[in-house]
């Protein structure tokens, strides 16, 4: 592959995107004809935003793009597709109740006077499917009857119909078995030979090394490097992704770490969480790190009984006793609280007052004989609003009018009147601006000083390193390792987060192509 034989297909320069804060800035990148460019980075580094800009789903705030030598400014995904820039998203965009053939040609079914030309549809579908090695499947099969891997291939096949010069694959192997991954790689090689350029987004470094020629690493919305992938080892790439800056320091105060308040023993469910065990002491913050999809939220939901575990149990109390937890009601009775990641969907009654939201879950303390005492309710809310410094006009203000940080405090405030010894936090600072984040950190510190045991899940490694006493790393559903404060490094933590997947990749390499796993 000499440089002269390669022509640029797509180039972006100075691309940036700002929502409330910049999520992407100053990206310069050139994609060559027939190459596979790996795009990687930590959660939230800007991979998805960049690919959505190229795919026409997001309009950039700054910068411009060139496609095949002409200015490229797609106003919509449809326009990008018409020009031959296609994107396969993580969530499949197929209709499970229609056949493979119908899905492939949904936007352009061969028909006469409204009647579908079945014969042509079938013939065209067979041809399109052959391109991605789906020869063995009958085009009349319903998509819903296919395995997830085959569905992914159908989605790719659909994007190859018509002109396809640039294909963006966003975490294409997330749901595939080892054999399906092999199949996908084979097809990628074939597409490359046809001159299709591919942007391959993944955090599975082993896979990237196999399939891509160059790698682009994003960190905090900036491009850190674009280099031939062969020049880097896994360790070097991890370092590039994380960067070297150290987080800010925060003083959470002096805490007395007491006895074990929560012991998780071999908890597991449906392949998402596998045999996870750990202890948390009162006064301690135990962080849980891992990549998106590693099973972090699922683990918290199991502890809380929001989902029921297939295996394992938890122990709480002093002395520790096995707690049978089949529902959130049981968890609350055992002094466990969950503050969910999705405040709007699972935490708050959005169109109701701060007062009503704090009261929910504290009814016993503000009512007698089933009748709510309005004064008590207001007093309770007032107490929490003051204690947590919730910025609001009054306790009657609707929570939908509050900022993210203050909404989070309302959810937390709901639990503080109760005797919760164990509090589980799922992404407590997601969608919260920097100033409010420190408020939440301070609050977590206060909670530990009250002798509570905290478990904090976060995608932000620096946040965990800032506030936690210990960090457990989940990878592919397993607790890979637990690190103590002062004996961890960002590199080690991140390497552990990738470890579970690398094991799978190693298995994949052992299994000869064609062997079912």
């Amino acid at each position: 592959m000499s440089a002269s034989a390669q022509a640029a297909v797509l180039s972006v320069s100075g691309i940036g995107k700002t929502y409330a804060q910049p999520v992407l800035s100053d990206i310069d990148l050139t994609l060559m004809r027939g190459e596979v460019l790996a795009l990687t980075g930590e959660n939230g580094a800007g991979k998805s935003t960049l690919s959505k800009i190229i795919g026409g789903l997001v309009v950039p705030t700054t910068g411009n793009m060139q496609f095949q030598g002409k200015p490229y400014k797609p106003a919509s995904r449809t326009e990008a597709e018409r020009l031959g820039v296609r994107m396969v998203m993580q969530e499949l965009n197929l209709l499970p109740t229609l056949s493979v053939a119908e899905n492939l040609f949904l936007d352009n079914l061969p028909s006469r006077g409204g009647w579908i030309n079945r014969k042509r549809l079938r013939a065209d579908a067979i041809q399109a499917m052959a391109q991605v090695g789906l020869d063995a499947i009958d085009p009349d099969t319903l998509v819903g009857e296919l395995g997830i891997g085959h569905q992914q291939m159908v989605e790719i096949a659909r994007n190859l119909i018509g002109d396809c010069h640039v294909l963006i694959l966003d975490e294409p192997t997330a749901m595939l078995t080892a054999r399906e991954v092999e199949m996908l790689f084979e097809q990628i090689t074939r597409l490359q030979a046809r001159g299709v350029s591919i942007i391959y987004i993944s955090h599975r470094l082993e896979e990237l090394a196999r399939v891509a020629q160059r790698i682009a690493v994003l960190r905090d919305g900036r491009l850190v490097c674009v280099e031939p992938i062969a020049d880097y080892s896994s360790e070097q790439l991890v370092t590039l992704m994380v960067g070297r800056e150290l987080g800010e320091h925060i003083d959470l105060g002096v805490r007395a770490i007491g006895d074990v308040a929560l012991a998780v023993k071999g908890l597991g469910r449906a392949g998402k969480v596998k045999d996870v065990s750990f202890d948390v002491r009162s006064g301690e913050i135990f962080g849980i790190s891992g990549l998106i999809g590693a099973g972090r939220t699922e683990l918290l939901r199991l502890i809380y009984g929001a989902d029921v575990a297939d295996s394992g149990h938890i122990e709480v109390g002093s002395p520790l006793r096995v707690a049978s937890i089949r529902s959130p009601v049981d968890a609350v009775a055992h002094g466990i609280a969950l503050i969910t990641e999705d405040r709007k969907g699972e935490g708050l009654l959005m169109n109701q007052s701060i007062r009503a939201n704090i009261a929910l879950g504290n009814m016993a303390s503000i009512s007698s004989n089933g009748v709510v005492n309005g004064h008590e309710e207001t007093r309770l809310a007032q107490r929490q609003v003051e204690a947590m410094r919730i910025r609001s006009s009054s306790t009657a203000q609707l929570v939908s009018e509050l900022s993210g940080g203050n909404q989070q405090k309302v959810v937390i405030g709901r639990w503080l009147e109760r005797d919760c010894k164990v509090m589980l936090f799922d992404e407590p600072t997601r969608g919260i601006d920097v100033g409010a984040k420190f408020d939440i950190y301070t609050l977590l510190g206060e909670l530990t000083r009250q002798g509570r045991a905290l478990v904090v899940v976060s995608s932000d490694l620096r946040e965990l390193m800032l506030i936690c006493d210990r960090i457990g790393v989940l990878s592919d559903g397993r607790l890979i390792d637990t690190f103590e404060r002062d004996s961890w490094s960002q590199d080690e933590l991140l390497a552990a987060a990738f470890a579970g997947y690398q094991k799978r990749d190693a298995l994949l390499n052992e299994a000869a192509p064609g062997n079912a796993l």
Partner: protein, 331 residues
Amino acid sequence: MKTSTSTQALPATGKRSSNYFGLGTYLGLAGALLAMIVLFSLLSDHFLSYETFSTLANQIPDLMVLAVGMTFILIIGGIDLSVGSVLALAASAVSVAMLGWGWSVFPAALLGMACATLAGTITGSITVAWRIPSFIVSLGVLEMARGVAYQMTNSRTAYIGDSFAWLSDPVAFGISPSFIIALLIILAAQAVLTRTVFGRYLIGIGTNEEAVRLAGINPKPYKIVVFSLMGLLAGVAALFQVSRLEAADPNAGAGLELQVIAAVVIGGTSLMGGRGSVISTFFGVLIISVLAAGLAQIGASEPTKRIITGAVIVIAVVLDTYRSNRAKRQS
């Protein structure tokens, strides 16, 4: 969506948004009602009379108590289509107990209410246990309850006589005990909705059931109780009707569910759940009843009555949606 980079709360909009039923809502509904009364009294000389008033007061208690139950059902995001049939079922049970088995009034009335409560509990339990939309479950119960009513009465209207008549005989100003009972039920229900833990949980469940569950509250029993309550109130309505007609008709209440839902929705209770008021529902009942009485007075034909009533329902919902969308945009 992040809206600010500071920790400051957004300023309160002053409006309490659309879920809050305050004086404004009630005044709006009362205004609509008043406008209708004025309009009909201009169109017909006989409208503004003692007769119209006493006829209305005599007829609406059934609708009032059914609408109370339906308000609760809609607040938790459900719907119950079986109320008309359940009413007939309760009436039939009363007639069988009294005429067939020679029971006296009170045990028979209790039996009727028990049957209706059971029917509601069945709807609620199936809905909750298998997470089936209550729309479908209650549609099935609608058919079954009607069938049982026919079976019990051999599809014939049973004349019970005047043993229940005291319930609907006016005691003063054309107002009967049944109207007073219905009014008390409305007041009690509004208090339950706004002042009790039960009421709070219902609104919470209708707003965001998962949030309620994750707050450590099991929503299932509350949902079932709401359907049982709906059944019980259908039983009460059945007694009112038996008292007024002095008979138990297995065909009673056919299509009544639509009238009940219409009254509740005109009152401004959301079909999406989480938002509602029993007092507003009472206004809805008055609006729909005055409309029917007024149209009859001015000699509107049956088809015309139905077209106009239908249009009023649609307009009420459109206005309500417009209002809540505007409130949403402002907040």
